[in-house]
């Protein structure tokens, strides 16, 4: 120990010199040790602030034939040991002390703690001075007491070295064990716990708290604890310039490990559950400059303090844990990204296969469908099935949800519709049956489908429609002028096991125009945030039907109107619609049913096509 003044600090360096001189040290080594201790002790005195000015410093030193170690404990605020070491200050009368220590010692570590810091300096000893010392000792008959003392020192040194070797070997074994486990598929879960159990064992600690940075990088969340009462709420990571609210947040912000012991009050700390007598170390975990988390480790009773070796072992574990955790996170993110992309690819393939290659066309009427996909794959689709020479079943549906599940349900619905269309003449009965068949599967995954089914009798010029949670279809009234909504009401498919749907029948007006659509059309917004809306759709149909325009032509016009309204605003939902329109007799050149020769692309309002062009 040395009193907190420069004269005592200087005297401590003299004591160190005398000790090594007694143990066979020769001049260059003695001078180096004396100088480095003098530098460290002077710094301990000069840089102590406040109450720390009254705290004595401490020098520990030990040597054997091959190496010596010096430890100087200070109570300053501490500093980060420069790495890499800067060049020598050429134009100042200060700043040479650390450079001298760095140059004269073989290994230097500065361990920072909450109340004290330890500068550990190690130097290899050349064999020569010791040999000379032994020679010089030969003529002297050593006393029994001297021999016993030397023997005790040697035993102590050997046991310290054996201990360190044991620690290092065990640490390395734990690291290798962990690497081997991580190499096996599926072994990554819980690897932290296994590694930290090894760490507890090696450092004689009895508790730990591992916190990892949350995905949004705002919090430190508990990822593993030695006992459940240590699992506390997430800690907010301090912004730049903000005072961290806890020791762990401070370690995360400063990226410097902190020691604490029973003298400090943990009452307001998240770690308080370790008890009032606990001590330990908190290490920052970081990999490639990115903060990964913190690990706090220690003992509940303060009768055992972490020594430098425990701390070094802890540091090794912390570094390894940081690298492995960061590596695992990267691998998981990579896999997740690939899975999502793959799922979207599958969903797109399914979705495209949902749209009919060709729509049936009946004499005197044209039919055209439009479909536009938003960025995420959804479950909107339309279909049309000829029920006879003069009758058509039209369907527009929207499966709630995105991705593969929505696409699969849409596919299922389409298959059922195609299979059952001939069995039910009444759309309400068809919907009721579909609901009973799909309810169990849909409700199991919390999904539902809105759909509208219409049967068009072209001879009677009537439309009979039923809806399951879907918006109204639009048709031109008997007067051939007004566009009216046909509001079919009913529960979406999959909500209740048994639902009675109701069909409504209306007559088609002169132009025979009918528009069925999903809510992607009416809910679409422009840059100003306005919805396209039902009213605008009704006005559009009122202004465009008739006039000899075919279904295909109307579809093109509707697509243009929708695109014009949307402008550059991104689409957030799919759009699907079906347009039926009467054709003027003179325009019908092939009254029989015909199909287009090839599949069309469906990526941008290019629908299956059954009207004339």
């Amino acid at each position: 120990m040395f009193a907190p003044n420069l004269a005592s600090a200087r005297a401590a360096a003299g004591v160190v010199r005398a000790f090594f001189a007694e143990h066979g040290g020769l001049e260059p080594e003695l001078f180096a040790c004396e100088l480095c201790v003098a530098e460290a002790c002077s710094n301990a005195v000069v840089y102590a602030k406040g109450a720390a000015r009254e705290e004595p410093g401490c020098v520990d030193f030990v040597c054997d034939a091959h190496a010596l170690e010096l430890r100087v404990t200070d109570h300053t605020a501490g500093f980060d040991w420069p790495d890499p070491f800067p060049t020598l200050p050429g134009d100042s009368d200060r700043g040479r002390g650390l450079f001298i220590i760095h140059s004269l010692m073989d290994d230097v570590q500065y361990l920072r703690g909450a109340k004290e810091n330890v500068l550990v300096m190690r130097k290899k000893r050349s064999g020569l001075p010791l040999a000379r010392a032994v020679e010089s000792l030969e003529p002297i008959e050593p006393s029994l007491a001297d021999t016993q003392r030397q023997l005790a020192e040697c035993t102590h040194a050997i046991s310290a070295m054996a201990r360190e070797l044991c620690f290092r070997t065990e640490t390395l074994s734990a690291v290798f064990r962990c690497c081997a486990e991580l190499g096996r598929a599926g072994a990554s879960a819980g690897f932290e716990e296994r590694l930290l159990a090894d760490m507890l064992h090696l450092t004689s600690a009895d508790w730990y708290v591992l916190r990892l940075v949350s995905p949004d990088e705002r919090e430190l969340r508990v990822a593993a604890v030695s006992t459940s009462e240590l699992a506390t709420a997430p800690l907010t990571l301090a912004d730049l310039g903000e005072m961290p609210a806890s020791l762990e947040a401070h370690v995360a912000a400063s990226r410097t490990s902190v020691r604490f012991d029973a003298r400090e009050s943990l009452a307001s700390e998240p770690l308080r559950a370790v008890g009032a007598n606990a001590n330990g170390v908190i290490y920052p975990l970081y990999s490639s400059d990115a903060l990964v988390g913190t690990i706090a480790v220690g003992r509940r009773q303060g009768d055992f303090a972490f020594d430098a070796l425990h701390e070094a072992v802890g540091r090794t574990f912390a570094d390894f844990l940081a690298i492995q955790t960061a590596g695992l996170r990267h691998r998981e993110q990579d896999l997740q990204t690939k899975l999502i992309a793959h799922e979207l690819d599958i969903a797109r393939v399914i979705q495209r296969s949902l749209l009919p290659v060709a729509l049936p066309q009946l004499s005197g009427f044209g039919l055209a469908g439009g479909w536009h996909s938003a960025r995420d794959v959804g479950g909107d689709f339309y279909d049309a099935i000829a029920l006879g020479e003069h009758s058509l079943l039209l369907v527009v549906a929207d499966v709630m949800g995105k991705g593969v599940p929505a696409a699969l349900f849409a596919m299922n619905l389409r298959g059922l519709l195609r299979g059952m269309s001939a069995l039910f003449e009444d759309p309400a009965q068809l919907l009721g049956r579909l609901n009973r068949l799909l309810h169990e599967e849909l409700s199991a995954v919390g999904m539902f489908i809105t759909a509208q089914v219409a049967v068009v009798d072209l001879r009677k010029r009537t439309v009979t429609a039923a809806g399951a949670g879907h918006g109204p279809l639009l048709y031109v009234a008997e007067d051939g002028k007004r566009v009216l909504p046909l509001a079919t009401q009913g529960m979406p498919l999959g909500v209740l096991p048994d639902v009675d749907y109701r069909s409504l029948t209306v007559s088609l007006g002169r132009s025979g125009t009918l528009l069925m659509h999903t809510d992607g059309l009416t809910d679409m917004r422009n840059a100003a945030g306005e919805e396209f809306g039902q009213e605008r759709l009704v006005s559009w149909l009122g202004a465009n039907h008739g006039r000899g325009r075919s279904a295909t032509e109307l579809r093109g016009r509707l697509a243009s109107a929708l695109n014009r309204f949307r402008g550059d605003t991104a689409m957030t939902d799919d759009q699907a619609f079906l347009l039926l329109a009467e054709e003027r007799v003179e325009d019908v050149r092939e009254p029989a049913m015909r199909l287009p020769s090839s599949r069309r692309k469906h990526d941008t309002l290019v629908p299956a096509d059954a009207g004339d062009a």
């Binding site: 200087r10 004396e34 000069v46 009368d93």
Partner: protein
């Protein structure tokens, strides 16, 4: 420590060590003696057994004061092997004429 002026030469000798403990006093006393504008300053280190970075800082301070006072010669006499090596390690041998006699 003895500080003597003989003619144009200022001699500083009998310095057992130059450390954080006494470097401040050394700096003040030598700087005060520089007021007589000597042409040569000789700091005799033959008795100096130990020097630390504060001692080096004091020597550097004298070097700077002499330089500012327009170029008197600055000479270190007979440093021990260890102190000469310390001066070399910190590249301060470039600033002084080191003489053994």
């Amino acid at each position: 420590m003895i500080i003597k002026t003989e003619g144009q030469t200022l001699s500083v000798s009998e310095i057992p060590e130059l450390t954080a403990v006494n470097s401040g006093a050394f700096r003040e006393e030598v700087t005060a003696a520089l007021r007589d504008s000597p042409a040569l300053i000789e700091i005799n280190l033959s008795k100096t057994r130990f020097m630390d970075s504060s001692g080096l800082g004091a020597l550097f301070s004298v070097y700077r004061t002499v330089g500012a006072a327009n170029g008197a010669k600055l000479r270190l006499l007979n440093p021990t092997t260890e102190i000469r090596q310390l001066l070399e390690l910190t590249q301060m041998q470039q600033l002084f004429e080191i003489v053994h006699r």
